[in-house]
Amino acid sequence: MSRQHLVDGDRIEAERYELEAAPAYRFAPSRREVFRMLGAGLLVLAVSGGAENAAEAQESGGGGGRRRGRNDAAPRDIGAWLHIGEDGTVTAHTGKTEVGQNVRTSLSQAVADELRVKVNSVRMVMADTDLVPYDAGTFGSRSTPAMAPQIRRAASAAREMLIDLAAATWGVDRAVCVAENGAIRRNDGSGTAPLAYPRLLQGKTLSRTIEDDAPRTPAAASSVPKVDGRAYVTGEHRYTSDLRRDGMLYGRVLRAPAYGAKLKSADLAPAQSLQGVVTVRDGDLVGVAAPTTRAADTALAAIKAEWETSAQQPSERDLFTRLRGAGSRGESLTGGAADERLKGTYTVAYIAHVPLEPRAAVAEWSGDRLTVWTGTQRPFGVRDELATAFGIPAARVRVIVPDTGSGYGGKHTGEAAVEAARLAKAAGKPVKLVWTREEEFAWAYFRPAGVIDVAAALGNDGTLAEWEFHNYNSGGSGLRSPYEIASRKEEFHRADSPLRQGSYRGLAATANHFARECHMDDLARAAGADPLAFRLKHLKDERLRAVLLAAAERFGWEKRRKAPGRGFGLAAGLEKGGYVANCAEVAVDAGTGQVIVRRVVAAFECGAVVNPVHLHNQVEGGTVMGLGGALFEAIHFEDGRLVNGRFSRYRVPRFRDMPAIETVLVDRRDLPSAGAGETPIVAIAPAIGNALLDATGVRLRALPLVSEGRMPAPV
């Protein structure tokens, strides 16, 4: 088995499961093209680093044709652009996608703040590969840290240009001009009426390129509600699965009965004979398209297919042995038989993202040009997948991502997009393909399963002297312990995953934090120390200390009162520039062993808080999702088939699973904002695991902790 050892946790790429293909083509419009698209007015291009020609170009006279400078071609690394039309319409373009993290709102808010206009007057054009600059994707909590400041700077540059325009119009010093309510006003007591932006931009074609390293304007904190919230509560918002095109058919794809099964034969004739049905056999893809979903289902069922299944199909029972590879338990740890270190082996199951909107795509061909609407976190990546699949230049593929029914790292790939496009090509009509929930479970990808071996030793003074940590398969992010340890060895080992795995909210940090923070509690016990005091004693990182103390204080850690069947636990960690600490209280029924998480406190810090309500919501959402993976979510599989690959058999957190959740936001105005989509999830499982240990004396080392909702019976 080939396997790569990565020794230094710091060097491990956090996004190791990303499919990072180099973009074959980048949209680099000239300024003229942008003006043609959006009309005259003012344009600011925000360049992410290394703009060679960050010069200002002013073109007057509205046409902009003749006096076009040599900088007309926009630099290649544009991150975003912002346009203010002659009528005052503000439009900002970015490749980010809205998947429920409310990035549309936070970006609109950034623009509105800087331009001194109302939030609802800003239009965000997002994730349409024909209309926005190239973007690697919306993941890794990078939307806020990278995009919001860029957009903000573009808007602030635009505001300064408007001030310059007004100052020139009035013939006054720009220092007496201020932007306010969509206009420039004079504060020199002259009584001159303010000039609204449209007045200033009438007949102008102005553009400017700004670089990424321009000084950062600290964002003011404010809580703007979801910008288009009304469209969601009225059902008007159209997700991909809600779109329709003229003459559109509904597609279905034939799936293998097990992973690795090969199609031997397929008789399409019975399906083909049904009215209005188009059948497709294109290499390994067999599918149908029909006027209704019901007709497509009927047609699919009519196809007679024979499959060849190989004898050796993966099953859950030998999963962890397989992931750890040939080495038997404990062998990977460097100590021999006389090793007296405190040891533990932790496991995490595969889990599914279960985005409530399954994968969906609508594909439409027009000659050799392809347009696909699809819910993905990587529009440009999917565009390249499509271009490759059909052997056409990426420039002829347009991917549009309507605001999507969530992703959690689960929608980075373009399976549905490619399938819909193949069906549409064969049908000669637009085709919508919405994966069934069962397809979404089986044919998307999972959060990696993993095994983690830990061995640690305390010195005579009760401090942590030695730390050895091996993660098999689940990933390297969050591998490195934040605690001060004299001697450490932390390794991530790749393995052959029997199931398709990929990115997930929090990535491997959840697994690594689970093992580490449980083990830290065991060490605290061994040292006879309080879990909080033990952690603080080994912690120099003041940001991590701060969230730990904030969580402990809100929770009343010092005042907690032991009672039978009651337990308290805490855990902390950092990931992707965010710091989180959780305290949890559990109740365990003495008779049935039933576990109830009663209360969770989450303290979170990710730099300056931009929108406190949305940040609060993201932390809360991460906490809720984390509860599922901590307590009961697991994919079960046998002989290459999922045992519980449907909604009714895969338990996700519901209303009754909710503890009282309290969120404490630590605001660091002096630090740049990092994303909050992922980190809040990482410490919840160990906090609950530690609370269960406190309540019962039993250490559970497998995620999910209590898949049946109760403590395992003592053996």
């Binding site: 509560v233 009225t234 059902g235 209704t292 019901r294 409530l356 999702m625």
Partner: protein, 159 residues
């Protein structure tokens, strides 16, 4: 020859061609272009497809359209009165009780049904009645707040 069915949706009578075995969910979405009702599981386990039938929250994914008969179907599109949002819609906006919003229409209709039966539900009653509605984005705590504030608004309106 496809027979025709007649159903009443959001106060309008609609003729549906084709067989009565099709799910109400598919008919709403595909025939009537009422796509606010969502597919999430197809087996009555997630609540995304919830509509009201004679005021009762019902999973449209497992309801054959032929079984609806003359009863009144209300979808999310039929809840607001013109421009005026239903108090539960208002409450969801106010409490920011949505992230991606995909669960929202089913949630809102379930809440409308809940408040009709119990105008003053406590947290346990809310959790019990909404247990069948999943929000994968984890907005449950805010949904509970939204329900309570909608309930308060409803009680004020009663007085």
């Amino acid at each position: 020859m496809p027979d025709t069915l007649r159903i009443k949706v959001n106060g309008k009578t609609r003729d549906i061609a084709g067989d009565g075995e099709r799910s109400l969910l598919q008919v709403l979405r595909e025939d009537l272009n009422l796509t606010g009702t969502k597919y999430g599981c197809g087996e009555a386990s997630c609540g995304a497809c919830t509509v009201l039938i004679d005021g009762e929250p019902t999973r449209s994914c497992v309801t054959p359209v032929g079984a609806v008969g003359g009863r009144a179907v209300t979808t999310i599109e039929g809840l607001a009165q013109g421009d005026k949002l239903h108090p539960v819609q208002e409450a969801f906006l106010e409490a920011d009780a949505l992230q991606c919003g995909y669960c929202t229409s089913g949630m809102i209709l379930s809440v409308v049904g809940l408040l009709r039966k119990n105008p003053d539900p406590d947290e346990a009653a809310i959790a019990a009645r909404l247990q069948g509605n999943v929000c994968r984005c984890g907005t449950y705590p805010r949904i509970v707040k939204a329900v309570q504030s909608a309930a308060r608004a409803g009680r004020r309106a009663q007085k």
